[in-house]
């Protein structure tokens, strides 16, 4: 984690109200992993006193640039849209736990709902670079909110669903997951909580549907506490690596370093976990989806 002055290089409204911004921040292009985020300070300090968290959307070490993708939804994000090339902002990062890809996984299924694209976008780049195959399922309300395929690598198989059927499958993106769950070795998702909860339920039933034991769970082991020898510690990178589905969570955030305890979600044992520190990426089985947080 470091504090870095980042200079805006380019700013584009890629969809109505949705912005893609590139910043020159060489120090942040070394080390960050897909799923991690930066906490950026709005400069208008008179009214806006909290930083805003953004996933690393893309990271390019050669040019020293990172990009963020967001929707302008309030005074803070509006402020960011008014930045001009050459303007500098203060970034704190990289923060949080990244996605963990099992070395044996060849086929990655990425699932994004709306702005959730920003949460999984970098993983597509990383996976392709590592020689993996990537299918990206993307859901939005209508065609006007569909992430442009021109902003994705050509090698990604891009499948779209819209609620109103104006582009791609008519309905939820989760409808399409069963078609791909046999192909996918692992799945990674970011989007609205109802979508993630539906995916978690699908993932829980996957083993039975496909007639396979779910990854990382050896039948016959009695302990449910995760402490059995060989079973990875819940919340650990190894536990995520062994999970079929990893989700990137969102929550109102204060400090983003684990100090204020503002951004928790409840885990399966009823203990609060900080989205900024233990997350934002969790194995889907680690969270209590019924808790309402």
């Amino acid at each position: 984690m470091q504090l870095v002055a980042a200079e805006l290089v380019e700013s584009r409204e890629i969809l109505p109200g949705q912005w893609l911004q590139a910043f020159h921040a060489p120090a942040l292009t070394v080390g960050p992993r897909a799923g991690q985020f930066v906490h950026i300070r709005p400069g208008d300090f008179s009214g806006l006193i909290l930083r805003r968290p953004f996933s690393f959307n893309t990271v390019d070490r050669a040019s020293g640039q990172i990009t963020i993708h967001y929707r302008a939804v309030g005074r803070g994000t509006d402020w960011f849209t008014r930045l001009r090339p050459g303007d500098s902002v203060d970034m704190l990062g990289p923060l949080g736990q990244p996605f963990e890809v099992d070395p044996h996984s060849r086929h990655l299924l990425l699932i994004a709902g709306g702005l959730g694209m920003a949460g999984v976008r970098m993983l597509a780049d990383d996976a392709l670079r590592a020689g993996r195959e990537v299918t990206l399922l993307f859901g939005a309300a209508s065609a006007t909110e569909v992430y442009p395929s021109s902003l994705l690598p050509d090698e990604v198989e891009y499948v779209v669903a819209t609620d109103d059927g104006s582009l791609g499958h008519r309905g939820y993106i989760t409808d399409l997951v069963p078609e791909y769950e046999g192909w996918a070795d692992q799945a990674f998702a970011c989007g609205p909580v109802p979508m993630l909860a539906a995916l978690a339920r699908l993932a829980a039933g996957r083993g039975a549907r496909l007639g396979i034991a779910s990854l990382g769970r050896k039948p016959g082991r009695g302990s449910t506490r995760g402490s059995a020898r060989g079973a990875p510690e819940p919340g650990s990178p190894a536990a995520r690596r062994k999970a079929f589905l990893q989700v990137s969570m969102e929550q109102n955030m204060g400090c983003a370093v684990g100090a204020c305890l503002g951004c928790v979600v409840m885990d399966a044992k009823g203990a609060p976990q900080r989205v900024c520190r233990e997350g934002p990426v969790f194995a889907s089985t680690e969270l209590d989806w019924e808790s309402g947080w």
Binding site: F45, I49, G254, V257, G262, G270, A271, R277, W293
Partner: protein
């Protein structure tokens, strides 16, 4: 020339609580001191007030727990913490190795809770003091009720005083009609210092205006928005107690530190603004040093109490109780 003499920002609070400088970080905004250590040289802070600690573990409130408001934020964490025993076990050894004093913020639902937590902290290496949080607005039982009644505030302070030799700070709530009788009761009960203020109770409205935004409905307002309220309370309390006052409420720049000192604070805590600007406290230490040098002072103490109605600062005043409140 006087301006060339070295500036000493250190202060000695009662019971041997020595701070290298008067810039502290506030409870609930700095975790247990370790969270920001990648970007903040924590040993240069005056002290660290850790997250509110209770007898038993607390999972805290449902989310959303925080939201930004104009020049401030509302929080409703609900005192999530692992309980005093876990805090001592997990962080005590680390704190022992630190130069910066760690003051453990203590919260509870009953006098017995406060007493038990305080006695478990007494004598623990690495614990430099206790800040009694009798004013947390975000828990159902206890918490705030001790801060809104002078008799209850005095009772809990006296009970804790009886079981610990640790320096004892008591944090005032602004959510009262008149804070002065409460401050006097706390002083009379044996507190070593007063911290003022905790957050102001408030709410925000959620998306679609269908319900309040925070999961707990009520939250505590903090940040620059509350600075005038904090200034007023420090100003009032400074005129009725002799024990040192540590001010908290929206400190964002050196001018805020100097303002709080002018109304009688011997030290300040930086809180919410840390989230935007984690290196602020260390910069304030440097800027306060520079300011003293500019004024030709070798200590900042002459800056304390300059805006109070009486002629001298609370530190140098003998034992005057100041101006009595007459409604």
């Amino acid at each position: 020339m006087i301006g060339a003499s070295p500036v000493d920002l250190s202060i000695e609070l009662p019971r041997g609580l020595r701070l290298e400088n008067p810039i502290l970080v506030a409870s609930g905004t700095f975790g247990y001191g370790i969270e920001y250590s990648d970007v903040v040289d924590i040993q240069r802070l005056g002290a660290i007030c850790c997250k509110g600690t209770t007898l038993r573990p607390r999972v805290g409130n449902i989310t959303p727990r925080v939201t930004e408001t104009p020049a401030g934020m509302l929080n409703s964490i609900g005192l999530q913490n692992p309980g005093v025993d876990a805090v001592i076990r997990k962080y005590g050894p680390t704190w022992t190795g630190w130069q910066v004093p760690v003051i453990v913020n203590v919260a509870g639902e009953s006098i017995e809770d406060y007493v038990e937590v305080a006695s478990r902290l007494d004598g623990v290496p690495g614990v430099a003091g206790i800040e009694l949080n009798i004013s947390c607005p975000n828990v159902g039982k206890g918490g705030l009720q001790f801060a809104i009644d002078a008799e209850a505030a005095g009772a809990v302070t006296a009970a804790v005083r009886a079981v610990t030799e640790l320096p004892l700070l008591v944090k005032l709530s602004p959510n009262v009609a008149d804070v002065r009788p409460i401050a006097r009761a706390i002083e009379a009960a044996g507190a070593d210092a007063i911290t003022a203020i905790n957050t102001l109770s408030g709410i925000a409205v959620g998306p679609g205006r269908r319900r309040p935004l925070l999961g707990n409905v009520y939250g505590g307002l903090s940040g620059p928005a509350i600075k005038p309220v904090a200034l007023r309370i420090v100003y009032e309390v400074a005129q009725v107690v002799d024990i040192p006052i540590i001010a908290i409420g929206g400190v964002a720049e050196l001018g805020d530190v100097l303002d709080f000192m002018a109304v009688g604070a011997i030290a300040v805590q930086v809180g919410t603004v840390l989230f935007a600007d984690p290196t602020l406290p260390v910069r304030l230490v440097e800027q306060l040093t520079d300011e003293c040098r500019r004024l030709g002072l070798d200590s900042y103490l002459p800056l304390v109490g300059t805006a109070l109605p009486k002629r001298s600062s609370p530190l140098s005043a003998p034992s005057s109780k100041g101006v009595e409140y007459r409604p």
